[in-house]
């Protein structure tokens, strides 16, 4: 089955084509078709995962040459190793849940079929990205993912905010992708190939100087920064919540944003080689995580809180991966790689669940604002329970999945005290804002009675995927328990980096559990018991509160520092365009018209004049000469005989008599001319007479 794993990504592509071209008008059929295809992909992914496990995670690679140029060769191929197999299962699982959920969520939307087409296209791109075996292909799918996310964020493009959000997402990620592209150029220049294995082999052989290698790694990482919404390009992800909630769940929680983390994990040998470059990655991850967690504390839009939470968790993973690269370079053992990929998987499940549950809440109550919710638990039991399971998981409560991976991330920061403290702080904040959300949404008194009375539980087609994901959010972490000697950890490490099994650290577990519980406890006190007033704290730390509430003014800073200058340059360019370029073009046209006017005059008067003039001359001559043709045979005969006599005379005189003047000829010609003149007169007079006589007869 591994041999045919390329089908996993092609099946959704086929479903996209089918829906777009044939099934667009049949909503049920197109939804059914795309769900069926993602389920097939899901089953295949699970089989591939099982096969990969049975191979002990040994990579399977198949490829063929695509472009073969001197100095560079590009291939198309698939690489199935542990990371790929896990990502396949994650993507297809969340994808299938989201598609089934969307049947309920998108019901009645006028673009229902198109939504499923886009989802299929997205899944194709994401699965292709995961399956790719070289940087060239991953870049192609990378951009496809960017495109589909653009389409999906702007799915409700009639809304101005959605249209703006999708542009923002597209352009922001494009900035990161530019760096990625430069990184690819450097790789191509130094290595002459894009294949992961070949590139890493050449890098470890030292084809790149350390400085260039660091630059390349940072450039490649900038692609991940854009896609995974890391600082300073994190601004697009919260705005991307303008898309339909299933999209947020699929793209902005579980899969697409995971692509950046996946890329860092995939290119890990490169980051290991740079050493200090990997530290940059870790620091960026930490800053992002801290910043986003701080912002999430004060937001009031349920999806925005989740979005910042996503950014924060992605920062966690990036940080863990970066620390792994740094520690490995310096020869100290680290669990960062395992922690990052493990958290990536768990996060996909519980964050997908959180978004879908939030979507269910929004679907039921009709608003995003948590200040208008409250007391929803009795009305939406399934949604509330699944949401709380996911919250427990993300907060890192034993034995939910988040606990295990978060514990590993904390473990990976052990050698770096600053990281350790901040990571625990973030964990505390995460627990706090997640439970703030839970308490404000599901408990207490309803704040908006009107909305509350209309609230209802979502249909089964939406709650079942929630239940399934909730199950995964509980158990998916168990595969990585530190007591399992051959669990997730040894599976992921199979291949280049031999695992160094570490003993479970109970102290660390207890600390992180305590941190999470205290976060939940604080939220409980503030938003359930209301024994601590959030407003008072907000007043106390007024500056911090304002900074957090306004997202550290990133959008405003970008507006002033980047967008406005670019806009003014663009305006200047526009005026340059209008005045100079358009002027040149119009001037050319004007000159052409002038020239052609001159040519037209020449044509009419000179060329046509010559043509018409020659015709006119011929006509005049003909008019004059036509009277020669009298129709009287005798006059012709007379002319002939007169000319014969004339030529005879000339010959006779000049040749035989050798006179210098043909006197006789001249006399003859004069005589004939006189005769003709006389006869004309006679004839004219006769005609006159005959005319007169005709009149007489009349």
């Amino acid at each position: 089955m591994t041999k045919y794993s390329f089908l996993i990504c092609l099946i959704p592509a086929l479903s996209f084509v089918m829906i777009v071209f044939f099934l667009r008008w049949k909503e049920k059929l197109s939804a059914g078709w795309s769900i069926a295809s993602i389920l097939i992909s899901w089953v295949m992914s699970i089989i591939v995962l099982i096969e990969t496990i049975s191979r002990n995670g040994q990579p399977y690679e198949a490829s063929y040459r695509f472009i073969n140029l001197p100095g560079i060769n590009i291939e198309i191929g698939i690489l199935v190793d542990a990371l790929t197999a896990i990502m396949l299962v994650v993507v297809t699982t969340v994808g299938a849940c989201v598609e089934i959920y969307s049947v309920g969520y998108m019901r009645g939307d006028s673009l229902f079929s198109r939504f499923f087409a886009y989802l299929s296209l997205f899944l194709f791109s994401m699965l292709g990205l995961v399956l790719a075996n070289n940087f060239f292909m991953i870049f192609i799918f990378w951009e496809l993912v960017g495109l589909t996310s653009y389409l999906l964020i702007g799915f409700w493009f009639e809304k101005k905010s959605a249209a703006n959000a999708c542009k923002k997402a597209f352009i922001t990620t494009r900035i990161g992708d530019l760096g990625f592209l430069v990184g690819l150029f450097l790789i191509a220049f130094y290595c002459g190939t894009f294949n992961y294995g070949d590139v890493f082999a050449k890098l470890s052989a030292g084809v790149m100087p350390l400085g260039v290698l660091t630059a390349t790694a940072i450039f490649v990482f900038s692609g991940a920064v854009g896609k995974s919404a890391q600082f300073p390009l994190h601004v697009w992800l919260p705005d991307a919540m303008e898309g339909p909630t299933p999209v947020s769940a699929l793209i902005h929680a579980a899969t697409m944003v995971a692509a950046g983390v996946y890329l860092v994990a995939r290119a890990m040998p490169m980051f290991i080689g740079t050493g200090n470059g990997a530290m940059v990655v870790a620091i960026i991850g930490l800053i992002t995580s801290l910043l986003a967690a701080t912002i999430a504390l004060t937001q009031n839009d349920i999806k925005r809180v989740l979005a910042y939470s996503t950014v924060s968790q992605l920062g966690y993973m990036i940080m863990a991966l970066g620390l792994y690269g740094y520690d490995t370079y310096h020869g100290s053992p680290s669990v960062g790689y395992f922690a990052g990929t493990f958290h990536l998987m768990n996060h996909a499940f519980f964050k997908g669940l959180l978004f879908l549950a939030a979507g269910s809440v929004i679907h039921g109550i009709g608003t995003n604002d948590i200040r208008e919710m409250g007391g929803l638990y009795p009305k939406m039991k399934t949604t509330a329970i699944t949401f709380m399971i996911a919250s427990l998981s993300i907060s890192g409560i034993f034995p939910f999945s988040g606990f295990w991976s978060k514990d590993e991330i904390v473990a990976s920061t052990l050698h770096h005290p600053v990281f350790l403290i901040l990571t625990l702080t973030i964990a505390f904040m995460t627990a706090f804002y997640m439970w703030r959300l839970c308490f404000m949404t599901f408990t207490g008194k309803p704040r908006d009675l009107d909305r509350f009375n209309h609230a209802h539980e979502s249909p089964r087609v939406m709650t079942w995927p929630l239940a399934f994901l909730a199950f995964l959010a509980v158990v998916s972490g168990w595969v990585g328990m530190p007591w399992l000697h051959h669990g997730f950890s040894s599976f992921v490490y199979a291949g280049a980096h031999a695992p160094e099994h570490h003993a479970p650290s109970y102290a660390l577990m207890i600390i992180s559990l305590c941190v999470a519980l205290s976060g939940i406890g604080l939220a409980y006190l503030m938003y359930y018991k209301k024994s601590i007033s959030p407003e008072a704290i907000g007043q106390r730390f007024r500056l911090l509160y304002k900074l957090s509430f306004n997202k550290f003014y990133f959008d405003e800073i970008y507006q002033v520092a980047i967008i406005n200058p670019i806009m003014s340059i663009a305006r200047f360019m526009w005026s340059f365009d209008v005045v100079i370029i358009d002027g040149a073009v119009n001037g050319t046209a004007w000159l052409t018209i002038l020239l052609s006017d001159i040519k037209q005059w020449f044509d009419v008067w000179i060329i046509d004049g010559a043509v018409n003039g020659s015709g006119w001359v011929v006509r005049q001559i003909g008019d004059g000469l036509r009277f020669i043709q009298t129709g009287v045979a005798q006059s012709y005969a007379l002319t002939i005989s007169a000319l014969v006599v004339l030529f005879g005379l000339i010959k006779f005189e000049l040749v035989y008599l050798t006179w210098s003047w043909p006197i006789m000829t001249i006399i003859f010609v004069m005589g004939v001319t006189a005769l003709i003149l006389v006869s004309r007169v006679v004839v004219t007079r006769q005609e006159l007479n005959s005319d007169i006589s005709k009149e007489d007869k009349v």
Partner: protein, 99 residues
Amino acid sequence: MFYYLALAAILFSIGLFGVLTRRNTIGILMSLELMFNAANINFVTFNKYIAAEALLGEMFAIFIIVVAAAEAAVGLAIVLLIYRNWNGIDTDNYNVMKW
């Protein structure tokens, strides 16, 4: 020889004059016959005084007489048709071939 040639020349001139001046088509045809016969006299004359033993001139003269007879037949037929079409055989009657 001079007299023969003079006769032929006079005869030819008379014929030519007739062709050019007669209004009657029959007359023109008859003048044509005169010109033929002037040519015949020339043939015969030159044959007699230049190559008497060859008899080529006499042969040619006889041919011309034959052709002239045929020509006269065709010509008279045309004249007949002219008469039927234009009710007259004067050359003025059928001057349609003009500008």
